[in-house]
Structures are given as C-alpha cells and as structure tokens.
C-alpha cells in the first residue's frame, strides 16, 4: 500500500479542480476534470511541454543509440584483445562509473567546443557519462560468446567491422535490450545534467518543465500534478512492456554467489 498510495494521490490531484487540489486532501474529486487539466497543461507557455517531450526524446534516442554502438565496440575489443593497456582502461571505466562529473569545467569545455546549450552537446554528455556502464556490461556479456564464432567469420574473409556488426552485435541482443531500457529511463528522467548544460527556453526537457512549472503553478496544484502524471507516462510504458526484460537482464549478468 505504501508503494501505491502516492501514485493514487498524484492521479487524484491531477484530475481535481483548482480549488479542490489546493486543499491537498486525499479524497475523491467531486468533479472529474482530467481532460480540461490535460489541455491546459499542454498549452501552458506556448506548448512548452510538447517541445520538452520532443527534446527529451531526441536526446534519449541519440544518446542511447550511440551508447549501444560505442559501448559494444569498446567492450568487444577490450574483452577480445588482451593488452597491458586493458588495466588502465579498466581503471578509467571505474572512475567514470563512480566519480561525479566536474560541472563547471565541463561547461567551459563545452563552450570552447561550441556545444554548450545545444542538443547534440547534451547527447554527447549523456554518452560520456553512460559509457562506463555500457562498456562493462557488454564486456562481461561478450566473454560468454565463443571466440570460435569470430574466427570462423574471419576465415571466411570478413573484415573486422563486418565481423562485429554482422556476427557479434546481433548476438548481443539480450544485453542490448537491457541497456536500452535502463539508459533510456535514466536519461529521460535526468534532471541535473540538463539543468547545468542545457539552459534556455528552446531547450527544455520534461523534467525541467516540471521544475519550472512549480513556481508558475503555485496556486494550481491540479495542473502541477497533471504535469507529473504526464511526465511519468513514458517510464510507465517502458515498465509495462519491458518489466520482465529489466528484471531478467539486470540480474542475469548478475549476482552469482
């Protein structure tokens, strides 16, 4: 019950009238205003929410695509080719996984590259921050794919990139799905990084709309909660469709005693 009630509360608040929502009560709405509230939230500040959905989707798709390709390529080489450099790379990956990014210097770098406040800059940031995870995940999975497979393909005269894209990548599907699900949810829900690296009205992301509307909707809690509801829907869909996959994927690579 403790886990469900807050969601019920969000739902109830989202469909109330302004006056009823202002009372904060955990009660059934006397008047069902779902559609009106929905329309009003979407129209706020010149359809800012739609723009935010667009931006967040572009960032998420772009970053996840690159993460899958880059992560798999690095994981593949790292696992297959033994070299003294591997240990160094490994340490950097662990650092990347744990160390919080240095924000202001990153802004400085982005500015010098002309990437500050741009969507593609944001995508590359998400790639840089998610890369360690992707590489480590792929590396441990690739260990379970027999080398004989790549060698057979090489004997057939395939070039390295053909071996990778035609033979290895398709075999990585289960772990790729896990990566896509986990990272797309994480990036879609990201608040901190867009807050720092993507200021500007034309660049809003969904989490930032929520934050910005908080002051605007100070006396309109019904709209604020409708906004929360709308922002929660994409992860909810991911959850409904991939629930099994998430659980299986995260535990399979997983914790073996």
């Amino acid at each position: 019950m403790i886990f469900i009630l807050p969601f019920v509360y969000i739902l109830l608040m989202a469909v109330k009238t302004k006056q009823e929502a202002a009372l904060f009560l955990f009660a059934w709405p006397s008047e069902w205003r779902a559609w009106e509230n929905l329309v009003e939230v979407v129209q706020t500040r010149n359809y800012m929410l739609l723009l935010a959905y667009f931006n967040s989707t572009v960032i998420t798709l772009g970053a996840v695509t690159l993460l899958v390709i880059f992560g798999a390529m690095v994981g593949y080489v790292l696992q297959r080719r033994r070299s003294p450099w591997n240990r160094v790379v490994y340490v950097f990956l662990l650092i990347g996984l744990m160390v919080p990014p240095a924000v202001v210097p990153t802004i400085w770098v982005l500015q010098n590259l002309g990437l500050f406040k741009t969507i593609h800059g944001m995508i590359l940031i998400q790639v840089a921050y998610g890369l360690s995870f992707a590489v480590l995940l792929y590396r441990s999975f690739i260990a379970s794919i027999p080398r004989a497979l790549d060698e057979a393909a090489i004997i057939d005269g395939a070039r390295p990139w053909q071996v990778f894209f035609r033979v290895i990548l398709p075999l990585l599907k289960p772990v790729t799905v896990t990566l896509i699900v986990v990272q797309s949810v994480a990036i879609f829900n990201d608040f901190t990084n867009p807050l720092y690296y993507l200021p500007g009205r034309e660049n809003v992301t969904v989490q930032l709309t929520l934050f910005n509307f908080q002051s605007q909707f100070q006396s309109q809690y019904n709209l604020l909660f409708m906004n929360i509801l709308l922002v929660t829907i994409p992860p909810l869909l991911v959850f409904v469709f991939c629930n099994r996959q998430i659980v299986a994927g995260m535990t399979s690579g997983g914790v073996k005693g």
Partner: protein
Amino acid sequence: MKTLRGNAALAAAVALVAGTAEAETTLSVLLDGNADTNAMMEALAAAFTARNPDITLELENRPGGSEGDNVVKTRLATGEAGDIIQYNSGSLFQALNPVSTLADLTDLPAQDNILDSFKSVVTAPDGTVRGIPFGPAMGGGVYYNIPLYEELGLSIPRTWDEFMANNAKVAEAGRVPVATTFGDTWTSQLFVLGDFYNVLAEVPTFAEDYTANRAKFATTPAALRGFEHLQEIFEAGYMNRDFGVATFEDGMRMVATGEAAHYPMLTFAMATVRQNTPEHIDDLGYFALPGPSADRNGLTVWMPAALYIPAASQNIEAARKFLDFVASPEGCRIMIEAVGATGPYLIEGCELPADVPRSVADMLPYFEQDGRTAPALEFLSPIKGPALEQITVEVGSGIRSAAEGAALYDQDVEKQARQLGLPNW
C-alpha cells in the same frame, strides 16, 4: 504575447511579399516572469511597434530569484542574452560584470529624464551608465490588515516596541501576528534588508564602511538589530504554523484576508493581491519597518529593476530606440495604465494618478518628505552575500541565534567581495 507574435508573423509575411523594402528588426527581450513585468512590457511593446512598424519585440520569461540570476549570468557570459534584458539594479547589477557584458548607455537621450538617484545604481565601476529604470520604486516595509487593526483598536506602530505590543494583542485575539513564508526563502530577508533606513539613521557611514571592510553586521549594533527582530518574532511564537513551507502568495493572502495582521514585504506585491484577492485590495495598509526611535522613522526603498542591452546584441541601435521610449514620460504613463500605480517612477515629468490603492497612498508620503526614505544597502554597496536568505530563514526559525547569523552573513559577504575583486578584502 500571442497577439505580438501574430503581429510579428504578419509583418514578416507582408515584408516578404513586399520584397523586403525595409529591414525588419525583431528585438528579443528577457523578463523575470513576474505578472506585472509582462503586462508592462506587453503594453510598451505594442505602443512602440505601433510607432515603429519595422521593429517588433519578442518576450521571453526566465525564472526569478537565484535561479534567474544564474540564467542571466550564464547567458551574458556566453553572449546569448538577446537584445534587451530586464534585471535588478544595484549590487546584483554589479555582479554581472557590466563593463564587459553590457552596452554603454551614458549618451542615451532619455538619460536626461532619469533621476540621478537611479543612475547611480546602474553605473558600472568605470563611471558609465548601463541601464534605464523599468517600473516603479518599491518600499520595504510591512503590510497590515486594516479591518483587523480597527477591530482590535490598534494604531500604526512607530517603534519596534509598539509593533511588538500590537503583535501581542493580535495573538491574544487568536490571529497570526506576522505572516511568515519561508517556503519562498527570499521573503525571509525583509526584516534585515528593510531595516536599513534605521541603520543609516544611527550609523550614516555604514554603507561605505561596509564596502571598505571596516564595518560588519555582527559588530554594528544598529545593523545587528534586523537579525534580532527576526529572532524575537520567532521566540514570541508570532508566526503562522506552516511558516516553514508557506509561500509568498500565501503570505499576501493571509494579510489581505485578515488571517494575519502583518506581512513584511516589498510593495510590488500589490499585483499579486489584484490577481488573487482583488476584493481585499483596500483592506491593506502599509507602514515602514519601525525602529528604535519614533522621531527617526522612515522607509527603506528599493530601486526599480532596469533594462539593459547586452554588449553582444546584434541590434543595439533598435534596442536603444526602444529604451529611449521606455524612459520617456509617455513610456511611464503606459506602464501605469497597464498595471496601476504601485509606487513612484524615477522619471521626470511622470505623475502618479490621484486614485491609488490604500497601501500605495500610505507609502507615498515617505517619498514626499525629505529624509524619510533611504535606499536599501544593495543600492549603496556592490556586495550582497548569496546565502542571506538561508541565514535569515535559520534565524527566523530558531536554528541559529541573531548574533551567530549576522556573523555568518559577514563571512558569506567576504566571498562576494573577493569575487568582485574589491580592495581591502
């Protein structure tokens, strides 16, 4: 805003059809998102474009408070602040690094209309003027609920002791003496910042000494008093129960409806009352924060925000033309028509209408007599520590004592002074 956009689109279409006879300029304007600000700017833009059909304005809202400071600073630093920005004057203006980020407006013709008291708060360290006033000056004092005052037979307090005596009677009557809204942390600063008239009355050189690192809040009894007042209110239990999460809008609602007797606030708050509880607009009165002495009581004044032109703007000429219009007596009349009169404008030849809300009428006499107003500290000194609002929340919630809070604020200020590279720090 929609109609403006419509006009712009239409004008653009016409220009295309006409083969672009004259260059079309669109000025982008960055505003603080306040309802009043938008109303004033929309009215000004419409009137200006009617006169200059080749120049249109596009308004953009940013968040307020420290969130907004950050937006403005980063945008200026990256050269993407558009053509006109609306932002505070005084110490926050100084923190923008105006010499390198803002255009020089010293020779703007309209500067002749602007009162010197305002020019001084938008003057960069190199002596050039970088902005023009936008909106009226504000007082920092206390709103009170007139019906409640009449009901309890109270009179306007002229010293702090009288104020506390009134509070005691209000508490006895079961109402909230002082509406307190720490949910919006900036509202917690009023007792300290609004007391500055009283500080200057006792220590006339405080601002210079403070800037030169010779005077401190913690060691100047007159300056420490603001912090002590906060502590007294808390210790007497004169606040509303939800003071920790209540917001500015809650505060105005409480004092307008008589739920609370007092609310220390800047006078720009009238716009909120007009929007949320218009039926109570004439129930509100206003008085300056009372100090130790009844003979030397006066109002601490906040200069209006200003309009600036970022140095990186591509349309400086057109933007200057607009600013010239805003700072004219006519621009001033348009603003008053748009939002009503809430305080004196700092433009020569701009008169307030006769019928103003009661609380504004209460404030105007302070301006009319010599020596009954003093600018807030942030207009006399470039340093304002960023953590003041958290510190005043702490003192006002009993987390820290007044003396410790003031000492902590003195430390906070050091950072700002060093960042600005002031001598003696």
